[in-house]
């Protein structure tokens, strides 16, 4: 992979680093939450599917952390496993434990639909390595979207218990899902330099226009909700627990080369 174009000034590089970190952390943390289903999903096919999706997401995070490491002269493993809880920049949607199966389906649906819009934009980024990676990720994420969509419909159209669990999950996660499009500090720079082809608020509007016609009839009208300024900074005890889990091996032998 090629290094960042040298013409980027310090402000643009910092903004790009923030963007890369936000997407990478989203993928990394949702990947780890979904990996919590490995071995205990409701059926064998879903055990395989959820594990495979989790592996994809963590693979995407790895590739993004590597782009970031090149840009900031850092190390991808250190970024992934060497940061404290407060240094993560995933959207608040990823702060929650996996919950029951319907809750995980609800989160995955909200995330995949938003991620599809974000990846479509990033595939047009002026940062060529990011555009190439996003284009490739998007093709893989199609399978995730298909899976999330199939499960959303299955639970919504099945029995009352599944439908109730699903809609409870959707309603409770709805505000935090907006935070995938939380404004970035360097966003103006990113848009001006063509690194981010669309501002977050435009992507947020696209996403709402796409999911509301499906979710509103299911859940009753969902409340108005918009991203907030600290949407990628709030952390929870549940995430602190997960962080302890996914850093445990790296912490056990800090000097080891993996």
């Amino acid at each position: 992979m090629t290094a960042a174009p040298p013409e980027l000034d310090v402000t643009a590089r910092e903004a790009l680093a923030e963007l890369l970190l936000s997407v990478a952390d989203d993928e990394f943390v949702i990947g780890f939450w979904d990996s919590e289903w490995t071995g205990i999903a409701p059926m064998l096919e879903e055990d395989v599917a959820t594990s495979s999706i989790a592996q994809d997401e963590i693979g995407h995070a790895k590739a993004l952390y590597e782009l970031l490491a090149e840009l900031t002269d850092d190390d991808a493993d250190r970024i992934a496993f060497g940061r404290g809880v407060a240094d993560f920049r995933h959207a608040a949607l990823m702060n929650h434990a996996r919950g029951d199966w319907a809750f995980s389906v609800a989160r995955r649906y909200l995330y995949e639909t938003a991620d599809a819009i974000r990846l479509t934009a990033l595939a047009r980024s002026g940062h060529e390595p990011l555009a190439q990676l996003a284009g490739k990720m998007r093709r893989e994420e199609t399978y995730h979207l298909l899976h999330a969509d199939a499960w959303l419909r299955r639970l919504a159209e099945g029995g009352a218990d599944g439908r109730e669990r699903l809609t409870n999950g959707l309603v409770s996660l709805w505000p935090d899902a907006q935070e995938i499009f939380a404004p970035l500090a360097g966003e103006e720079t990113l848009v001006r330099e063509g690194l981010l082809p669309e501002p977050m608020r435009a992507m947020h509007a696209d996403w709402q226009a796409r999911v509301r016609p499906i979710l509103d009839p299911m859940c009753g009208a969902l409340p108005d909700a918009t991203p907030t300024l600290d949407g990628r900074e709030r952390r929870t005890d549940e995430f602190s627990w997960l962080h302890g889990e996914f850093t445990s091996v790296a912490r056990s032998e800090e000097a080891a080369a993996w």
Binding site: M1, D56, K62, R139, E140, T142, L146
Partner: protein, 173 residues
């Protein structure tokens, strides 16, 4: 021009060697037939290979990099072997060669569908999923997708209603 001739022949030797290296997850097919070799360039000091992962998170990438580095190093065409992972161009199923598709079929894998079949689903445009897979055992198209996620990231599971065999398809991506 004389040097140019020599360079071409070294590149040919590299491609011939690569054609002997198998995919670690589906050993029936070589890395060349799988289409993961994006380019090969050789100069006096260095062999550079661009490796295009089938899936971004494919855990076999590291193994492929190591194998290619070792095998090309032993070939002795240049001192340095440089195998770089790239997404330019992205690997797509269309990169599998006709010979590769045949090898997949012979070892019980349905090759990825070459064209979308079936209606577009949410968010899908250039990539339609759920195409019917042709059974690698009996050739029937009377098959159903059991699970788009299989034992590795790049494989889906189907069932053939005619010969009643489950089989795997290398995913269209």
């Amino acid at each position: 021009m004389v040097t140019r001739g020599a360079v071409v022949s070294r590149e040919e030797r590299v491609w011939a060697e690569l054609a002997q290296i198998r995919d670690p997850e589906i050993p029936a097919i070589s890395v060349v037939d799988l289409g993961v070799i994006g380019s090969v360039t050789v100069d006096d000091e260095r062999v550079s290979v661009k490796l295009l992962p089938t899936f971004v998170g494919c855990p076999a990438i590291g193994v492929m990099q190591e194998q290619i580095t070792a095998r090309l190093g032993a070939l002795g065409v240049a001192d340095v072997v440089d195998v770089k992972v790239s997404f330019d161009p992205p690997w797509t199923s269309e990169r599998i060669t006709p010979a590769g598709r045949e090898r997949l079929r012979l070892s019980g894998f349905a090759p990825p569908a070459t064209a979308p079949t079936g209606p577009a689903l949410i968010g899908l445009d250039e990539l339609a999923v759920l195409p019917i897979a042709e059974c690698p055992y009996c050739g029937s198209r009377n098959t159903t997708l059991e699970n788009p996620f299989g034992p590795t990231l790049c494989r889906a599971i189907y069932h053939c209603a005619d010969c009643r065999q489950p089989f795997e398809q290398m995913k269209r991506v």
